[in-house]
Amino acid sequence: MNRKILNIVVNGESHQVLIEPHWTLLQVLRNEIGMMGTKENCLEAECGVCTVLLDGKAINSCILLAAQVEGCSVTTIEGIGDPEHLHPLQEAFIECGAVQCGYCIPGMILTAKSFLDENPGCRPSRDEIREAIAGTLCRCTGYRKIIDAVATAADRIALSGAKQ
């Protein structure tokens, strides 16, 4: 088979992976690198559960061909915090009761992170948060507590930024 080498940085670690030309970034992350926190559902860029950060920006990894991300840096949910060192977003999602089945949550948190990173220090309104996360479907929560969580995290991040 005509496999090619892909160089990719995932959560700060360099990887060299042999890929087939039709593989998506999602397939590479889940099947080759073992980052199972990135979820799969529609595979058509319609639901957002596969969202990761590509050079800091939220993208749907299910429709992006892996070959196109040569040399790029990818952040998955595993890369922003771990159980001992939760990211403020992860902490706020738990605190606000924004997690139910949890299957949409990695994509939701990364979408929110990309949004907050684009607007450093800002405390977005609830409507702005609503708009920012509208591309990620959650069937469990009705979104209210997710918006609570993003707003809470944004406040804390802005506060800690102001202190520094």
Binding site: H22, R30, M35, M36, G37, T38, K39, E40, N41, C42, L43, E44, E46, C47, V49, T76, I77, E78, G81, D82, P83, L86, L89, Q90, F93, I94, E95, G97, V99, Q100, C101, G102, Y103, C104, I105, P106, I109, R126, I129, R130, E131, I133, A134, G135, T136, L137, C138, R139, C140, T141, G142, Y143, R144, K145, I146, I147
Partner: protein, 757 residues
Amino acid sequence: MSAHTHRVAGHRLPRRDGVGKVTGKHVYAADFKLPGMLYGRVLRSTRAHALIKKIDTSRAAAMAGVRGIITSADIPQIRYGTAVRDTTVFATDRALFTGHAIAAVAATSLEIAERALAAIEVEYEDLPPLFDPEEALKSDIRIHPDWETYKALPIISRNRNIAGQARIRVGDAEAAFAKAHKVYEHRFSTALQHPGYTEPRVATADWDANGIVTVWCNTQLPFDTQTTLAEILDLPAARVRVTVPGIGGGFGGKLRIGVEHFAALLARKTARPVKVMSTSEEELTAALPRQASIVLLKTAVDKEGHLLARSGRIIVDCGAYAGSGPGTAAIALQVMAGPYKTGALAFESIAVYTNKVHSGSFRAPAGPMANFAMECQIDMIAKDLGLDPLEMRLRNVVKEGDPGPSGEIHRSVSIEECLRKAADAIGWHDRNPEPGRGKGIACSWWMTTGGSSGVYVKINPDGSATLVSGAVEIGTGAITGAAQVLAEELSLDLTDINVTGVDTQAAPFDFGAQGSRTTFSVGNACLAAASELRRQMFELAAKQLEAPIEDMKLQDKHVVAGNKSISIAELARISRLAGGGLIAHGTAISPAPAYDPTRVQNHPLPVWNTPSYHAHAVDLSVDQATGKVTINRYVVAQDVGYAINPTYIEGQIEGGVAQGIGQALSEEIVYQDGCVMNANLTDYKMPTAMDVPEIESIIVECRSAAGPYGAKGVGEPPCIEPPAAIGNAIAAATGCWPNSLPMTAEKIAAAMQVQHS
């Protein structure tokens, strides 16, 4: 123990599985893999109703990487099903709907499996199809020509294309209609709705050296899946092990077997582990959606708006197999009776086969369908009589001790409180704040499904406890709720309770994550286990402390007797060395309340257990040109008996209402000539964050006698009232009632146009 002194129960504590879920460490069934695993895919019928003349798999079988192909001819000829045993794994001699499974392939990669599907040749001979449920009632075409030979639950009454028919009769409805002040008759329809869980149905199966098959999957009912798989595989149940690593939502769509059987059969055929996951297209064409329905409702009232009699019929389109259709249709009868006193009732439910996708038990099956009709009609009557819709309801709602439709007695009734609180919160006094804006209200009642639960609880040498349950945590927080009950009873913290994964080989039986019952039943089983553990610990402590058992209590992780005490951890260590450890089996069963069987015929759920009461109120605006609805505010007042964890109760309310808003305004699996026209998540429109307002929850606590600390079922009710509440608000805003779901902008605009012309 009174509720306000609870340390753990009743508090907004974070769920036990939260950290795993926000860090990506929580393993879902979709994440599960095994070395050497093959990928399975299912070939599905392209015809709605056709004889299968020939299936040629030879080209596909010869492809490199294809390891096994199965069709109906390769497997035991078994029919399975809950109410009616009409279902087969694959289409046998005929395809009954577009999407019907024809064959399954296992290959070394998904791509190869997909190419193999394309290489299978199927020869069909079309048969005349039946798509319209009302036509199916009259037609001579039989979707199941051999229906008479199928086994079914004895209670189920069937006839030709009718998969089940039930009745509730109270008093003399005909006489009441004859002398009523006014009689109203309306027809409503509701659409096919997908549960919309974000993790598709998925299963990985592997056979071991002892001939035991293990299936890692995302079922809501591991024990039901185990039994069904055993039938399909023609094995004793003990040789089927079902385990649920984690599940990304279910909402009733993952109650019955989904892809587990394909994985198990392919794994048997290939002697390799096989994983099968549904695609989005399969989800929307061949899963277990909420049935479409038609409701005909006739109501008689006196001058003051008292309900004298109601009669009606719900026709539930169950698609090609009965699935949960007969039960769903029958439950609609209690929903149609509503939380109202009515002089006489004459209701009938019909579940009918058509050549469309088989259907299931989406959250509060039948609840929103029947409630939409029943509660919209109350508003229509109120308008005609010149009554305030809230007042009309308050005149008719049941009170403590009133009989329900089956002759059972309504207890711990809170419907009036719910209605008043929802109305107050939405600002009911001002129903039309401006042109094009209106407020609507709707109420309902719903059961807490009983069924039995068992748990094992073990005290560990560090003083923590392990809870082994066969109940799946589908996301609601129900198991965290049960763990709160357990922690409360054992004087532990919630973080001291470890919850194991579900495994049918190790866990005691549980009736499953369905019917608003998990916290209720597993919580009751935890109460029983805790009581048994207290007995064991007190007996052991009596020896250690030389104190009488009567003086003992559990306090702050210790057994305390007067001024003597010993820690639970110490007792666990002593018991490990000398008594095999502290372990208890707790069980719970909720017996059905007494009722009058002469009122209820052929009904698989003749009486409701521990019902809850609730009311929804909405404030919305309708664009006068386009018909587009914008929801300004949405309020729910729901009686939960006792709020074990208010945060996750709000979560259930907010999520359930969001699904209800979807059903009310946008969601429909659209069929045209037997084909689904919108089998993707762009065209099947579930609400996004832009479509759902900030739902306001008012938690009402009217204790039940049967639930832990007085709790009632919580999970299903929130999706019942939204279509009716929204329909009534649209009517308040526009003057016209859209009588079919979803109430799309197009339908509303058309109705407004008719009204203006």
